[in-house]
Symmetry: C2
Subunit: 249 residues, 2 copies
C-alpha cells in the first residue's frame, strides 16, 4: 500500500508541474468524448496520461476519460485528473488534482490526496489515520453564528441558493477542493444538490472529510456509498456534523 | 505619480508578506469598530497599519478602518487592506489587497493594483496605459456559448441566482479579485446586485476592468461614479461588454 500511496503522490506532483508549465491557451481544446460521456479537453487528457503512465500495471484505474482499466490488481486508483476543469480553462485560480486508492466501492477507499494547483495546498487522508493539509492534521469546524459558511457546488438548486440569504455562500467550481475546505474547517458544508457527481469527483475528498471528523452523505442526507463505476451519479453533502443536514435538506 | 505607484506596490508586497507569515488563528479577532461602521478584525488592522506607515504624509488615505486621512495632498490612496476578509479568516484561498490612487472620485482614479495573496497573482492598471496580470497585458473575453461564465458577489439577489440555470456561476467572496477575473477574461461578468460595496472595495478593480476593455456600472447598468467617501454604497456590474447587461438586468 505504501508504494501505491507514493505513486498517488507522484501523480499529483507531476500533473501539477505539467499544468503549471504548459500553454494555458491549449487547456480548453476539444480532444474527443471521454468514457464518462462528457467532452475531453486537452487539459484533462494530458493530466490523465501522466497518471496512466505513472501507474502502469501496478493498479487498476478508474478515470473520467479512459474509464475503467482492469490490470487484475487488488487496488484501483480513482482519479479526477483535473478537479475544476472549467476553472482551469477559464483562468479562475481554484482547480486541482484528485487521486484515491480503493477496491470496489467508495466506502473501502483507504487513501485520498487532493492538490490545489494555484496555491500548492495538499490535502491528504489515510483511513484510520486522519486528514492533513500540507502534512498538518486538520479537523472540521463547527460554527453556531449566522455566518455559518456554506460552500455549494456550482449548480446549486433553488433551495440551496435560498440558503444564501441566511448564511454566507461560496460557489468555487471544483468539488473535491470545496469538500476539502469543509475538512480543514474553512467552510461548514459543501452541498451539490443535483445527481451530477461521479465517484471520481469525490472519492479522495470523501475520505479527507470523514478523517477530519466530518460527514459525507448523498443529496438527501442518506448514507453515500457507490461502486467505483463512472455510470453512477450522485449528489453530495459534506458537512462539519450531522446538525448541518437540518439546514440543508 | 511614479513615486506614489511605487508606494502602492510596496504596500501590496508588505501586506502580502505579513499575512503569509502571521498566525492565521488571530486573523478573526475583533479589534473594534472601523470608520465604515463595520467590525475591524485583526487581519484588517495589521494590513491597514502597514499601508498607513508606508504612505506616511505623502498622500491622503481612504481606508475602511481609519476612514479618510487628509494629509493635504493632491492624491488619495484608496485602500481595501484585505479584499475578501471573511475568506482570509476562514481559510478559503481567495483574498487579496487592493490599492488605488485617485483624487476626488472614482472616475479620476489613475492607478490600481490588486494582489491575490494565496496565488501571488498581481493585477495592475494605469489609466490610458492598459491592464496587466503579472506584468502581461490582459483583455476581457467575450463568450457566446451557453457556458458564459459569470462571477457573482456572495450576496447575489434572487434574479442573479436564477442566472445560474443558464450560465456557470461562481461566488468567490472577494469583490476586487472577482472583478479582476473579468478583466483577465476568466469570467464574463461580476455582479453585486445589492448596494453594499464601498469605493474602497472596487476603486482599483474598476480601473483594471476598464483598462482591459470592459465596462463598470452600478447595479442598474447606469454609469458608476461616486466620491471617495466611505458613506456611499453601491452595487457593481463589471462586464466584458455592453451586451452582458441585457443578461444581468
Amino acid at each position: 500500500m505504501e508504494k501505491l500511496i507514493e505513486k498517488a503522490r507522484e501523480i499529483v506532483e507531476e500533473i501539477d508541474k505539467k499544468i503549471r508549465s504548459d500553454d494555458k491557451n491549449k487547456f480548453g481544446e476539444f480532444i474527443g468524448m471521454g468514457a464518462d460521456g462528457t467532452p475531453t479537453n486537452y487539459i484533462d487528457k494530458i493530466a490523465e496520461d501522466i497518471a496512466l503512465k505513472i501507474i502502469g500495471k501496478e493498479g487498476n484505474i478508474l478515470s473520467e476519460e479512459c474509464g475503467f482499466i482492469d490490470n487484475g490488481c487488488e487496488y484501483t486508483f480513482v482519479i479526477d485528473p483535473i478537479d475544476g476543469t472549467r476553472n482551469a480553462i477559464a483562468g479562475i485560480p481554484f482547480y486541482g488534482v484528485s487521486v484515491a486508492i480503493g477496491k470496489e466501492k467508495l466506502k473501502d477507499v483507504s487513501y485520498g490526496i487532493v492538490k490545489n494547483i494555484p496555491t500548492g495546498e495538499i490535502f491528504e487522508a489515510i483511513a484510520g489515520k486522519g486528514a492533513f493539509l500540507n502534512k498538518k492534521i486538520i479537523r472540521v469546524k463547527k460554527r453556531n453564528k449566522p455566518f455559518l459558511c456554506l460552500v455549494l457546488g456550482e449548480s446549486g438548486n433553488e433551495k440551496t441558493w435560498r440558503i444564501s440569504n441566511k448564511h454566507h455562500v461560496r460557489a468555487m467550481g471544483a468539488a473535491a477542493l470545496e469538500m476539502c475546505l469543509v475538512a480543514c474547517g474553512a467552510a461548514q458544508a459543501y452541498f451539490m444538490g443535483k445527481k451530477s457527481l461521479r465517484v471520481t469527483d469525490f472519492a479522495a475528498a470523501s475520505l479527507i472529510v470523514e478523517e477530519a471528523g466530518g460527514i459525507v452523505r448523498d443529496e438527501d442526507g442518506e448514507e453515500l456509498d457507490l461502486p467505483l463505476d463512472l455510470k453512477v451519479r450522485s449528489g453530495v453533502i459534506a458537512g462539519c456534523d450531522e446538525e448541518i443536514l437540518k439546514v440543508l435538506i
